[in-house]
Symmetry: D2
Subunit: 219 residues, 4 copies
């Protein structure tokens, strides 16, 4: 399918959504945090069984982190990791068996080496799509008075969408710098970004997110 | 965009997903329940501001409910409904302002009249996309020893997908009879069904779901 | 058991807790809300089967609400209410069968008439002990940038403690004005307040809470 | 305070509760799991700053585990463990600063050596009181069709009560073998067990739990 055919169709749907009272901008709140989702070796190395090409998205995320750290914006990293029993993976590891590779302690669950957490930037293990599910993330954000989450990482149609949806449900503003999220395939990437913009959060150019952070007060 | 162009592209992506260890069948468990999502007048009446065309999906759901009730399968109905303060709608009513119409007690939050809950079939009010979020649904299902949820209703790319995702996260098998779920637009409908089949639950023909229920023991 | 014997024993335990690194003050955050828990006719009318004596606690809560409203502090009311199927009550209505009386729409689930919600003060139905469980409360608080919850209502050893515990777990500071929470029996009331002070939230005299609110900026 | 004075007072309250329609037995369901709560060196070694005396409770738990494993009852272990940033501890580590000792990887978060998990018995890290909060436990139990949780560990008035309460809220039957749960102090131990029996779960002699498991079918 030609890219411009899909793009035209999606722009038409977006216009229709707006006439239905959907797809309004949420805007940034007062205090953002950055969530870096599943940029772990087992996914970011295209040579591995569940890997795909995410070099550009990682590079853009590194740039975002540089700016965020200068303004003391909290950063949380997430990796998918399971107990060797896989009992913490519930039904998900049955639906998506490739995830069973991601056993805690294995190389596949290490962060991509281009990303280096600072001493106050935790790496949370998660077992499901949403970074909020089965983790204390919402509590940590609330305790920090965070009201906005800037989402980066992969996969747009999987864990990124799930995290954006849970962020909104939990009362946090989900902001997605488009260049910082990636997927295995173009159609689900574009359609999920449209869905997110329509009903979940704001999809923005990275430049707009950087400008917002740079203009903000230090936390 | 021509339907067959999209269909061909999605089938190619599905084939790729299967080579990556995704999109396995979960299968039914031992005890299903049916969830009927957001078939309320404000959405199912195409003349209303947030309405769309869902007649076929409702008709198929009515057929499913007839079969389910003969086998004592529990049924739960859901409608979106807010307090007049809208404080229970959090950020969602800002992102999707049309939802602010759905105030508890108004006609828009009444079930579509083609659906009639039985005396043991509760109608749960919900405020967010997922039927599990901000409701005691998961607890009720667990207390009934339910392990499988058959999802019907609308909108595929909104509340249906959100509910399917949360069902899987909570440990329930999400089964979607394709004819019973509907959307405002074809592309997000088809792409979200592909996403669900790839990583969340099983998308099946209604006939397969009916056969499974009919062959099951009474609860 | 004589009151002073229990009091002495509890003060000794508290002193021991402090030597173990427990029972520190959390303090107020920047933006409080008041939660009024289960002051509904079926509980506050001592003539009814599940009723008990709570007149003083209601009177103190009314005084707190007067002060809170002058400072635009958000107020949320909660009542226990079930669908007639009781399916939303899960196992709790089996453990505590008296709760099965509290069917939505019945007089038992009406707020005590001494409490009158304002137009922007929602009444949330809840089915379990914690006001956070099976409700969108945490999301509403986060969307309002609330970081502190002042708890009033009943029963100290039941829904009040459960709500305090979930507040802390969700990242909100639980503050309990001692005069505003009540119980059916003195021993569980006092011991649960000690437990809360030790590991969950701050138990304060009402006067301290009023002073804090009065000195705060309007929201 | 003399033990028999407290006991007499608590039995009187229990009798009153029963006249109010509280404190019914839930009974076992069809498929139990055992949860072992916070038996980690930092708590079970009385020489350490947050330690206390729990030898008898551990011994009784070991006996329970022996019987459970013969019947293939699933077992889950829990330890409190935080990221070095303590950001996953939210407000709890401020209220109870002694918990800040329990950093992931430190000796304090190792299981007591008298407890040895089998290869299919996961050890879940938790950050809050309830084993269900911020963990995927409920999902794992549901995916295993577990409907009953047998609770052992410490502290009765802290993490054990919180876990029992959340178990009931999530739809699982909480069963507490009295000999297998322990506390730092007698009064909160006894009063919390009374609270649990009144409104949360069933408090039983260990012998009754062992008999039930031994008579059950293998899973």
């Amino acid at each position: 399918m030609e890219d411009k055919v899909l793009d035209k169709a999606l722009r038409d749907i977006e216009a229709y959504y707006r006439t239905q009272g959907m797809a309004r901008a949420l805007g940034f709140g007062k205090r953002p945090a950055v969530l870096v989702i599943d940029f772990q070796k087992g996914i970011t190395d295209p040579e591995r069984p569940a890997g795909c090409h995410l070099d550009a998205e990682i590079e853009h995320t590194v740039r975002l982190l540089d700016v965020a750290r200068k303004k003391d914006v909290p950063v949380f990293f997430f990796v998918i990791a399971y107990d060797r029993s896989l009992l913490d993976g519930g039904l998900l590891v049955k639906k998506v068996p490739t995830l069973a590779r991601f056993v805690a302690g294995s190389d596949d669950v290490q962060l991509d080496p281009r990303l280096t957490p600072g001493p106050n930037e935790p790496v949370f293990a998660k077992q499901y799509g949403s970074c909020f599910f089965g983790t204390p993330l919402a509590s940590s954000l609330t305790a920090l008075n965070v009201d906005t989450v800037i989402l980066t990482g992969c996969i747009t149609s999987g864990c990124v969408r799930a995290t954006a949806h849970d962020a909104l449900q939990h009362g946090f503003r989900p902001m997605l710098p488009r260049e910082c999220v990636g997927d295995r395939a173009r159609i689900p990437h574009e359609v999920n970004l449209m869905d997110i913009q329509a009903r979940i959060g704001d999809v923005l150019p990275l430049s707009a997110v950087l400008t917002h952070i740079e203009q903000g007060e230090s936390a």
